[in-house]
């Protein structure tokens, strides 16, 4: 029994690994994409950081407002004259900074105690200008505050009359949990890597065998059906895990490429986390492989199986979203749902929390039960499947 399963396992593994074209697509889509997204984010964040460091305010008509200029320069900001066609540039996202427009009568209005109106131009479709306008708004409020305080001081009123309360912001998240925010995308990518890795092999060893007409002769060998299914299942799960390992490892060099220092400090994914991830994903790979095979064995052709497997793929890819949309935080039932449980536990690993063995054992048990049920179903269906 075990030697037959081993024979099938080796054959299916060789068969799957020889399918170079499919493997290449899987590698591109699930191994390369994670680091690529990571780099894109880092590029964006680096741009924002760079602008924050530059401390530049782009103003049109600053010559009309020496007081404002004085204030901005005292805040160590550099004032830069806006380009001629700034509105168009903002619309076309060619200009990354919001533009402050100062009217010609700014200084005289201010001196006469009237309220001059300045415009802050940004575009909702221009993400970078949007991000920058917050800083400019804060600067302008500072200017308001200063002018008001001065006027009150002249009239002998305490500035405290203007301030009912003072706000101090304090971020309670420690660096590790802040890092987890960025790293949350890693569990999603490795989860999908397991799924896409196992998908093709699962369909090929079941629906593919039916379509080729090789399942019927296979069953004419004196090997127990369970041995055949176990061998196939082992190979499918192995390919899934192989892709997941590659995906996990790809994030390690991926983070060296991070262009933002703050970001790489925030991104916590080392070899230890990678090993935890792989350990947590092992039972899930087994369960997903078995479920995909159970779905596919009922299908007469590879194409039909692909259409049916979409439901599994969709369900699994929705799971990480539960943790995002769920307002009440982690619920105990999360650990009972395969894929969701692994996402939850991987999140905990990233936040540097400890994993109780009971929780890990629960997810392993659920995956094992699911895998065993699906394998039994495939073994039972194998003969009817071979004949039709």
């Amino acid at each position: 029994m075990m030697s037959a399963a081993w024979t099938v396992y080796l054959k299916e593994l060789v068969d799957a690994l020889r399918d170079r074209r499919t493997l290449l697509v899987v590698l591109l889509s699930s191994v390369a994409i994670g680091p690529a997204v990571l780099m894109l984010i880092s590029q964006m964040v680096a741009g924002i950081e760079q602008r924050a460091e530059e401390r530049v305010v782009v103003v049109h008509g600053i010559e009309h407002a020496p007081t404002l200029r004085n204030f901005l320069e005292r805040q160590t900001y550099t004032v830069r004259e806006a380009p001629a066609c700034y509105e168009q540039q903002l619309k076309d996202s060619k200009l990354g900074d919001p533009v402050l427009v100062v009217p010609a009568d700014f200084e005289s209005e201010l001196r006469r105690g009237k309220v001059p109106v300045v415009e802050l131009l940004a575009s909702a479709t221009n993400q970078r200008s949007q991000t920058g306008s917050g800083a400019v708004l804060r600067l302008l409020r500072g200017f308001n505050q200063e002018q008001a305080t001065l006027r009150l001081a002249v009239r002998g009123v305490s500035p405290a009359a203007l301030e009912a309360l003072r706000i101090e912001e304090r971020d309670l998240a420690d660096p590790a949990s802040r890092a987890a925010q960025l790293s949350t995308m890693v569990p999603f990518f490795v989860l999908m890597a397991v799924l896409y890795g196992a998908l093709n092999a699962a369909l090929d060893t079941t629906a593919g065998e039916r379509e080729r007409g090789s399942l019927e002769p296979l069953l004419m060998n004196p090997s127990p059906r369970l041995a055949l299914v176990l061998g196939k299942w082992g190979a499918v799960a192995s390919v899934g895990i192989l892709i997941a390992v590659l995906s996990c490892l790809s994030f390690l060099p991926g983070q060296w490429l991070l262009r933002s220092e703050a970001l790489s400090a925030m991104f916590r994914f080392g070899i230890g986390e990678a090993l935890w991830f792989i350990g947590l994903l092992l039972p899930l790979a087994g369960a997903l492989a078995a479920v995909l095979m159970a779905v596919a064995i009922r299908c007469k052709s590879f194409k039909e199986a692909q259409a049916n497997a979409t439901i599994v793929v969709l369900a699994v890819s929705m799971m990480p979203l539960v943790t995002i949309f769920n307002q009440e935080g982690q619920a105990p039932w999360h650990l009972w749902v395969p894929a969701l449980a692994q996402t939850t536990l991987m999140g905990r690993v990233l936040r540097g929390e400890s994993l109780p063995w009971a929780d890990v054992a629960l997810t392993v048990a659920v995956s094992a039960l699911l895998a065993a049920t699906a394998i039994a179903f495939v073994a039972r269906t194998l003969r009817t499947a071979a004949l039709k």
Binding site: S3, S214, L219, P224
Partner: protein, 261 residues
């Protein structure tokens, strides 16, 4: 030796009120002796494939039995399959494996060691004249090349009994001839018991020592080509076959014993 006794099998098509019962096999009996080629001759839909699938333990019969060298297939399918080489209607190969790997895989599943299976693949390749094919991937093989590989795969464990379901389907004349030669050699040099099903009477005339005519799921006549011709008073075997298969609505013809040895 393969003994088939009074096989019966029905299938249900559709579900619920629209369900229809089809009697695929309704009393097939024959004996295929060692050192002989037994032809299972019948029109399309006569129940040949179902009979052979029951013999290969893929389907359980409603009634009747198949014994392979005295082993009851339904009771001990693995033991029976170890003594049988089956080339079924479906003969899909693994396109990403070489012909040799396809053959060795089945040898391993039959419980052979890897070196033994590899040596056997070489021997079969010599016998089937397919040595240049051995280390090529089967993707892109012609029908004849596929059939040879599938046959080698079925014979890898050197079974005493060989069952072939319409093996000449889709083969050209040269491939058919070479298959016939192979089967004769397996019979004469190795004393195998060979059963093969077909709907082509020329093949039966050229090859079979013993013919089992199957129609409407029943054995309607058994005997050698000459015996069957004589019993019908015909000289042309085609006339004999048409007469037997298409006029016989009820049971075996009088004067023709079930399994004339």
């Amino acid at each position: 030796m393969i003994e088939v006794r009074e096989l019966r099998k029905h299938f249900t098509q559709g579900r619920g009120a629209g369900a229809r019962t089809v009697l695929a096999v309704d009393g097939v009996s024959f004996t295929a002796a060692d050192g002989r080629i037994t032809g299972l001759l019948g029109p399309n839909g006569a129940g040949k494939t179902t009979t052979l699938r029951i013999a290969a333990a893929l389907i359980e019969p409603d009634a009747g039995s198949v014994r392979v060298d005295g082993i009851d297939v339904a009771a001990r399918p693995t033991a029976a399959l170890a003594r049988m080489g089956v080339l079924s209607d479906a003969r899909g190969l693994y396109p990403r494996l070489t012909a040799r790997e396809n053959i060795v895989y089945y040898g391993r599943l039959q419980g052979m060691t890897r070196p033994a299976a590899a040596a056997r693949a070489d021997a079969l390749a010599r016998m089937l004249d397919m040595r240049p094919l051995l280390d090529r991937r089967t993707d892109g093989f012609s029908q004849g090349e596929r059939m040879k590989t599938a046959l080698a795969r079925a014979l890898v464990h050197d079974p005493a009994n060989i069952v072939l379901d319409e093996p000449t389907n889709g083969l050209d004349v040269l491939a058919t001839r070479s298959l016939r030669d192979t089967l004769r050699r397996l019979r004469d040099e190795h004393g195998k018991c060979i059963v093969f099903s077909t709907h082509i009477m020329q093949e039966v005339e050229r090859l079979c020592d013993h013919v089992v005519v199957v129609a409407h799921g029943r054995t309607v006549a058994t005997g050698s080509v000459a015996e069957l011709n004589a019993a019908r008073g015909e000289t042309d075997f085609e006339e004999t076959f048409v007469g037997l298969a298409f006029s016989a609505e009820q049971g075996p013809q009088p004067g023709l014993p079930w399994s004339a040895a």
